[in-house]
């Protein structure tokens, strides 16, 4: 398995420094990575890759995953990708929160998101010095788009995202958020807010030629406004963006995923 989620995609490490060796493969210290995908090319492999990579990189660490998929699914897929989640789950280092458990009878999801926020906040408490958090932490939020689809009030999801950003910044937790793109002509309010709030964006798209057995899709990496507008001191100059025109192709199989340049087999196919 590669050392980064997407080739050349690295993030500023929590310890600071501008050299490449001090960069991290996963978001840290309150950085938010947004992953968008579509139905033909889902980005499950990146979420599982992020969790596996975190536990391989950090012997002591904590991962909280907000997903409606059950623990058996996460364990089975992680096992196939080369990591056993069972010991991490038993020790409490891997914890799964199912948003559907908090959905009440009311169609309004405001109460649901408040309870979910409380559960996350309980597991990722703020620290005195977020930049020097002793235990690395990663928060993976999978169902944010679903929560928007079932919500009658779009602002509830926006408030939830804003609250999550606050607690992850104050606790020094890296965040990976996945959002499912639909064919809607205008971007939904939650996606617009995520594009404003997150620091980095990985866009996973299907090929325009349709499904292929050899190439699963293409991925591009971008720096978002939150990162760019952070100012000259905080701006991430070491980030290597990969625009859509230079997107990488990838192939997913049962045992993992590999990236390769467009038009090249790269020893993959």
């Amino acid at each position: 398995m590669s050392t980064t989620l997407v080739p050349s995609l690295t993030f500023p490490s929590q310890s600071g420094g501008t050299s490449n060796s001090s960069r991290s493969a996963l978001p840290t210290g309150g950085q938010l990575l947004l992953i968008t995908d579509d139905l033909v090319s889902p980005s499950d492999f990146l979420l599982h890759g992020a969790v596996n990579m975190f536990f391989k990189e950090h012997k002591t660490g904590r991962v909280v995953v907000v997903s409606s998929l059950d623990e058996a699914h996460w364990k089975a897929v992680s096992q196939k990708l080369g990591l056993s989640l069972a010991p991490h789950s038993a020790s409490g280092a891997f914890e799964l929160l199912d948003p559907s458990r908090f959905l009440g009878s009311s169609p309004d999801t405001q109460g649901t998101l408040r309870r979910l926020y409380d559960e996350i906040h309980q597991r990722i408490p703020p620290t005195a010095d977020a930049s020097r958090s002793s235990t690395p932490q990663l928060l993976v939020i999978d169902d944010i788009s679903v929560l928007e689809w079932i919500s009658t009030e779009p602002t509830t999801v926006i408030r939830f995202i804003r609250a999550i950003r606050h607690i992850t910044t104050s606790s020094g937790t890296g965040v990976v958020i996945r959002y499912h793109s639909t064919s809607s002509t205008k971007p939904p309010p939650a996606l617009q807010h995520l594009m404003e709030t997150c620091h980095y964006h990985v866009s996973v798209k299907s090929l325009t030629s349709g499904r292929s057995g050899a190439v699963s899709g293409e991925a591009s990496a971008h720096s978002l406004k939150a990162s760019i507008n952070a100012g000259p001191v905080l701006e991430d100059k070491g980030f290597v963006s990969r625009p859509t025109a230079e997107a990488l192709h990838y192939r997913v199989d049962a045992s993992g995923f590999k990236f390769f340049d467009r038009g090249t087999a790269g020893g993959v196919i």
Binding site: D70, S100, R101, S209, V215, A254
Partner: protein, 439 residues
């Protein structure tokens, strides 16, 4: 020195009734009742999954046909079956199910050329050029399993109706049950149905159960909103994913489109994508019923099959990508180009419903040399009952093509033969016949 230690072989328990282990994902799965649909899904529908069927054509009811196959398979396999909805509609759905073919335990391997489309003189030995003798016959669909000793997949015939004795005994024994909202509240019964399903899961947790939900969002469900339907599917998936319950959801035609028609308001595009993400599997069966052009282009088929999402329970890649012969994603490809997915179409013959790979005919409209007139397409008003009967020569294509000047006026036709004309040999290219471009 030989050790006295004997490794204890793990006891392999047989899978539950009517299920088998998927070779790619090692997940238990059950059959949908349609072998070609099982193949498209990668072997079958996984236990603990939701499969959504969308049929946007308002003039046909393919979703009801597939629900009936699914229910009939469950009853024939001895599994528990539960139908959700208005009780009388649920009973009517079950009573109209197809049933086992009389020759189920015989040789059911017929191949692609079904009994309905046997060419005249097929029983005679066909002379094939020597270079092609070793090649297999061109297959457009998967064969039904020869063995009937297992209870996974049965051969159903549309000409056979489920005996009333079978449904009555299934009801009496509790194998078949109907689930409906008990309260007469005006609000949509989503929450009540979910709580009943939750109680059913708690009561029969270790049982393999088929939960059929026909016409979700239709008349029975009252004034629904897109959020309510999506929330229902989201919560249902969370309930069943750790169980041995499998769910088949079908939607009414007005909700089976990418821009669904809700009474309350307009909805943006992306509805099918949302359903696809919330379900484990999502397929559309788009009928040609309202499109005469497609019907004439593909006379042997009744519609397209679109696989929006294939189930991938406990795996990163759907087993369908690797195992499905019809989808063809695992077919060998060149080193530069990937293997593209096959186009799929479905058709309903006199005896069965089948999904096949869709191929365009040779330019000119004739796929092979014939000595008899080709089977032509007919635009049907009621596609549901459009069963391609054995080639009746009286049927002919009637596709209305408006032209500035009629190419051929029968009233002034000079052809009034007194002696019978010899049937013309039909080949790919006809020099003397009328062409598309004749005016």
């Amino acid at each position: 020195m030989s050790s006295s230690f004997k490794r204890k072989a793990p006891a392999t328990q047989p899978p539950p009734l009517g299920t088998r282990l998927n070779v790619a994902s090692s997940v238990l799965e059950l059959s949908t009742g349609v072998p070609s649909l099982d193949d498209v899904l990668g072997g079958g529908q996984p236990l603990g999954s939701i499969l959504t069927i969308l049929t946007p054509d308002r003039h046909s009811n393919w979703s009801e046909l597939l629900q009936r196959y699914w229910i009939a398979q469950g009853i024939a396999s001895g599994q528990q079956v539960c139908v959700v909805g208005e009780p009388s509609c649920s009973a009517k759905l079950v009573e109209g199910c197809m049933w086992l073919s009389p020759a189920e335990y015989g040789d059911s391997v017929k191949g692609a050329a079904s009994e309905d489309e046997r060419e005249p003189g097929a029983d005679e030995e066909v002379k094939i050029a020597w270079r092609y003798e070793g090649m297999k016959k061109f297959q457009t669909t998967v064969r039904t399993a020869a063995s009937r000793r297992d209870d996974y997949n049965h051969t159903f015939e549309l000409t056979q109706k489920i005996p009333s004795g079978v449904t009555e005994s299934a009801l009496q024994s509790g194998q078949l049950q109907y689930l409906s909202a008990r309260s007469k509240a005006t609000t949509p019964p989503f929450d009540e149905i979910l709580s009943q399903i939750k109680a059913l899961i708690e009561a029969q947790y270790a049982t393999v159960m088929r939960l059929a939900i026909p016409e979700l969002g239709g008349l029975y469900w009252g004034d629904t909103t897109p959020e309510a339907i999506l929330r229902f599917v989201y919560l249902l998936r969370g309930m069943v994913q750790s169980t041995q319950f499998s769910v088949l959801i079908s939607m009414p035609p007005h909700l089976a489109q990418d821009v669904p028609a809700f009474d309350s308001r307009t909805v943006d595009a992306g509805w099918i994508t949302k359903l696809g993400f919330l379900s484990d599997g999502c397929l559309s069966f788009s009928s040609f019923g309202d499109n005469p052009a497609l019907l004439s282009a593909f006379p042997a088929y009744h519609g397209f099959v679109h696989v929006h999402r294939a189930p991938s329970v406990r795996s990163l890649v759907p087993p369908s990508h690797k195992l499905s012969v019809l989808r063809g994603l695992s077919s060998p490809s060149s080193h530069t180009e990937g293997g593209g997915e096959n186009n799929l179409g479905f058709k309903c013959t006199r005896k069965r419903f089948v999904i096949e790979t869709l191929h365009l005919d040779v330019e000119g409209g004739v796929s092979e040399r014939r000595t008899a007139p080709p089977i032509s397409a007919t635009v049907h008003e009621h596609s549901e009952s459009s069963l391609t009967s054995p080639a009746t020569k009286a049927e002919s294509a009637k596709v209305a093509v408006e032209a500035p000047a009629p190419a051929y006026d029968e009233a002034t036709s000079p052809v009034t033969t007194t002696k019978p004309k010899k049937a013309r040999k039909v080949v790919a290219f006809q020099s003397g016949g009328r062409d598309l471009y004749d005016f």
